[in-house]
């Protein structure tokens, strides 16, 4: 059954708040929360209104006082509108502020480019000491919250909006290996081509492409690179080793996100041919749900499989850059 990662996050946060008095929930009027749901901890839920710079700055002040604030707003506003506060107040001071950024990628769908976040991963992973996690489903969102509960520095948790399918249902036996923040998750192993993805639909597209390729007689490795910072560079190098090349898949502009991170690692450590599947350099021109837009802009299993075949056939890349 599909579950929304942001709702799973909310419930995981409620557990943390009940268990630890240092944990606060600062909300940017997202409508995701009902203070009463926090029970005895409800005084540690504060809706700070529609003021994102203040939201991040206030969280920094609280964290500097020894508290553990979780901040909720949309990814577009956390990563761009409030970016200077994230950089100067949070990252510069290495404070344990957790930014739960909902509506990552194209998840805001028909709400349009003002609400899409297609640059957030590039921005956040550039900030020194900022942990950047993109869970592939609700279960991973919960694990990411729990695993980073005591992390001493900032955490950017990119969440979606609506329900997405559980990853386990899409991974062949024996299923996915355990999810650990900071360590890439192997979903399939294979020698012919490597597919590296992050986020719910990109990871599903990677798995779908691996099935397509398997039917053609090729075995693809699939790596869920859910943590972009710190990056599990060894896993990327291992996945690329001996293959025809690496396809990256992400719900992000092709510049600076997962594809950029993988290209940096391979360029320095293990030069390999790369194809980046992601949002082309454009703002969405039409309305559509998240799936519609992913289809329209070519972030699909078919596109990933085509890119992988090109790598294996050694043909030149003719797609958009």
């Amino acid at each position: 059954m599909s579950v929304s990662a942001r709702e799973a996050y909310r419930d995981a946060l409620a557990e943390l708040m009940a268990a630890d008095e240092r944990v606060w929930c600062l909300d940017g009027d997202t409508g995701l929360f009902d203070a009463d749901a926090f029970g005895p901890a409800k005084d540690r839920y504060v809706n700070l209104g529609i003021a994102e710079h203040n939201l991040i700055g206030t969280a920094a002040g609280m964290a500097a006082s020894g508290l553990l604030p979780y901040v909720n707003t949309m990814a577009a506003f956390a990563a761009t509108r409030a970016l200077e506060a994230v950089k100067v107040d949070v990252a510069y001071n290495a404070l344990p502020v957790r930014i739960a950024a909902t509506h990552g990628g194209l998840a805001a769908g028909h709400l349009g480019p003002t609400h899409h976040a297609l640059e957030d991963l590039a921005v956040m992973r550039a900030l020194p000491g900022c942990t950047v996690v993109v869970p592939a489903d609700a279960d991973q969102a919960v694990r990411a919250v729990r695993q980073t509960a005591d992390h001493p520095g900032p955490v950017y948790l990119r969440l979606g909006r609506g329900p997405t399918p559980p990853l386990a249902s899409a991974v062949p036996e024996p299923g996915p290996e355990p999810f650990t923040v900071g360590r890439a998750q192997w979903l399939r192993r294979g020698p012919d081509v490597a597919i590296v993805a992050c986020g719910p639909y990109p990871v599903l597209a990677a798995l779908e492409a691996a099935e397509v390729l398997a039917n053609l007689g090729a075995t693809a490795a699939v790596l869920n690179l859910h943590t972009l910072a710190p990056l599990d560079a060894d896993a990327v190098v291992e996945a690329a080793h001996g293959t025809a090349g690496v396809v990256t898949v992400e719900e992000h502009w092709r510049t600076g996100g997962l594809g950029g991170a993988v290209a940096e690692v391979l360029g320095e450590r293990a030069p390999a041919r790369i194809r980046r599947v992601g949002m082309p350099a454009t703002f969405a021109e039409v309305a559509g749900g998240q799936r519609d837009l992913l289809e329209r802009y070519g972030i699909t299993g078919a596109a990933v499989a085509a890119a992988a075949r090109e790598l294996m056939e050694g043909t030149a890349w003719e797609g958009e850059t």
Binding site: A51, N54, T58, G61, A64, G66, Y92, N93
Partner: protein
Amino acid sequence: MEPARDLRETAHRVREHIVDMCAGPEGGHLGGSLSLTEILTVLYFQVLRVDPRRPDDPGRDILLLSKGHGAICLYAVLAERGFLPVEELATYARAGSRLMGHPIRAVPGVEMPTGSLGHGLALGNGFALAGRRCFVVLGDGELQEGSVWEAAGVAAGLGLGNLTAVVDRNTLQLTGPTEERVPLEPLAGRWRAFGWEVRECDGHDPAALLAAFTEPSPGRPVAVIAHTVKGRGLPALEGTVRAHYANLGERQHQRALAVLRARHKRGAP
């Protein structure tokens, strides 16, 4: 707590340090540091519950210099208060020094790095929400940053009675009078409209500042509008745009010190 006479002595020494630092290799933000002198001196010597021997005391009061370009005044006051050696002020802006043009946390007593304007009040909201008594010192030109008013609205909404904003109202920004750039007046009315209690005083009168800082909280945030003079203490620069930043040569440096000392000796405010 220092008696008022000693406080004037301390403020005088702070001004001398400021002038000295402006004679260093990079110069410094002279005018806005001289306007700030009594504000920070009164706060650090008479108001804040802080201990230079324990700068990380978890229960300490918090001061945030949101107008981070007043760094040299802050360094001078912190040195006089015992947070760092007075001799260290001579390293200001020199290669390898922790005393940068804007304050960083590596300096004992500095709570948060500032310099990009418009950050302090939101941070102050966080410290106040965490239960700390917090003073945020803002420049008046800084009030043109929209983030200040986001934070002001939120602070009033939360009823943060342990939060005080102090505006160094010297009426000048880098290129000219604030009222000719982005007008702030009626400034007191603006804060009141945001739900704050407003107290106005002469920002160079220690007793008036002390009263404004320590009058019991009305259960909502307090804005102290401290009316000051940019470049205070150096008559040739007072109230001038060129006071903003100075890189004093040796003769100017000695002359400025002489003027400060003569005025102080006369008991001039």
